[in-house]
């Protein structure tokens, strides 16, 4: 295929980067654009990875759960969507059942073998946390928190 303009051949599909001066400029431009795209993609990937890291999510979830318990009243059941945490635990080979643990008035969220983040709440209630499962006994990515009066 040839593209013609006023009788002159601009480029042919079979010989993209050959001979003419215009062709060599095109190679450099393509290289420049490709390098820029690679650079920007690496930056974006870095940003996304930082924003969805296990350590950051552990902190977010534990504080969120503690505040949620603080504002809850006895005989409440709260469901929290933790799909992001579930994805990370699948990567890190941790049972989703062990992600959230509550001992006394301290919430502990653990998304990898080595890390973990704990935060305390001031509401004197008894809290139980367990993951929701569907009919096939698979985790749905939702955690259920039941809040009762202490000693019940």
């Amino acid at each position: 295929m040839k593209i013609k303009k006023r009788g002159k051949t601009l480029f042919t599909s079979s010989s993209f980067f050959t001979k003419s001066e215009r062709g060599e400029i095109l190679v450099e431009n393509v290289l420049f654009i490709v390098l820029n795209i690679i650079f920007i993609s690496i930056l974006i990937l870095f940003l996304f990875k930082q924003g969805s890291g296990a350590a950051l999510l552990e902190q977010t979830y534990s504080k969120q759960i503690a505040l949620m318990i603080d504002s809850a009243k006895p005989v409440m059941e709260i469901k929290l969507n933790m799909e992001k945490a579930q994805k990370i635990t699948e990567k890190n080979k941790i049972d989703f059942n062990q992600v959230v643990s509550i001992t006394g008035n301290v919430v502990n969220v653990k998304l990898s073998q080595k890390t973990g983040y704990e935060y305390s709440f001031f509401n004197d209630v008894e809290v139980k946390a367990f993951p929701e499962t569907n009919s096939q006994n698979e985790y749905t990515g939702v955690y259920i928190f039941t809040i009762n009066k202490n000693g019940q």
Partner: protein, 199 residues
């Protein structure tokens, strides 16, 4: 066409003057124009700036102390005044005279627990409820927790350099007792938890 050629020539000259260090040999214009040391220096500066900003942003923990203090005030105000009427346990009658109950236990009545099992955790909370009449005269006050934290509230509220101090939230509301006497209740809630909320 002649004009275009002239422009190209000038450009070429200009570029030769600008780019001294080039990665590729002088094979016409392209490489000289783009892949120069200057360009890579700019890329490194941008990448460094992005990494620094991201680590600064994600490196500091989320500060939830103000939210926590607000939730605590909600809980305390709900237990001190239910449906606009003050909690009956706040009052005792002595010799047929109604008085504020000095033994009112804020923690028990409002279902609060201030102890934490963290290392080096010394009194992370302070809570104070003051009762005023409508002439703004203080009648009674009750408090729980680490009273040393109260001094933090008086030091330059909101200034960034004092971010390691405790966070204080102060709110007031009006309520009636069983004899329809009105009171103004001022609740101060202070949360420290500096290690978990400030870098």
């Amino acid at each position: 066409m002649i004009k275009n050629k002239k422009v190209k020539h000038i450009l070429r000259k200009g570029i030769k003057e600008i780019s001294h260090y080039v990665f590729f040999p002088k094979n016409r214009i392209g490489a000289e124009k783009i892949i120069s040391v200057y360009w890579f220096v700019i890329l490194i500066i941008i990448a460094g700036a992005v990494v620094a900003m991201v680590s600064l942003f994600y490196g500091s923990p989320y500060d939830v102390r103000v939210t926590e203090a607000n939730i605590m005030i909600n809980q305390v105000s709900n237990c001190l005044s239910q449906s606009g009427e003050l909690n009956k346990n706040l009052f005792i009658s002595e010799n047929s005279e109604k008085k504020f109950n000095e033994n009112f236990n804020l923690l028990e009545e409002c279902n609060l627990i201030f102890e934490t099992k963290f290392e080096n955790a010394v009194g992370e909370y302070f809570l104070e409820a003051e009762f005023y009449d409508l002439n703004n005269e203080r009648l009674f006050s009750i408090s729980e927790g680490n009273s040393n934290l109260k001094t933090d509230c008086k030091i330059a509220e909101g200034e960034k350099k004092y971010k390691r101090l405790s966070k204080c939230v102060d709110r007031e509301f009006y309520s009636l007792d069983s004899e329809n006497q009105a009171y103004k209740i001022n609740i101060l809630s202070v949360v420290r938890k500096t290690e978990k909320n400030v870098k």
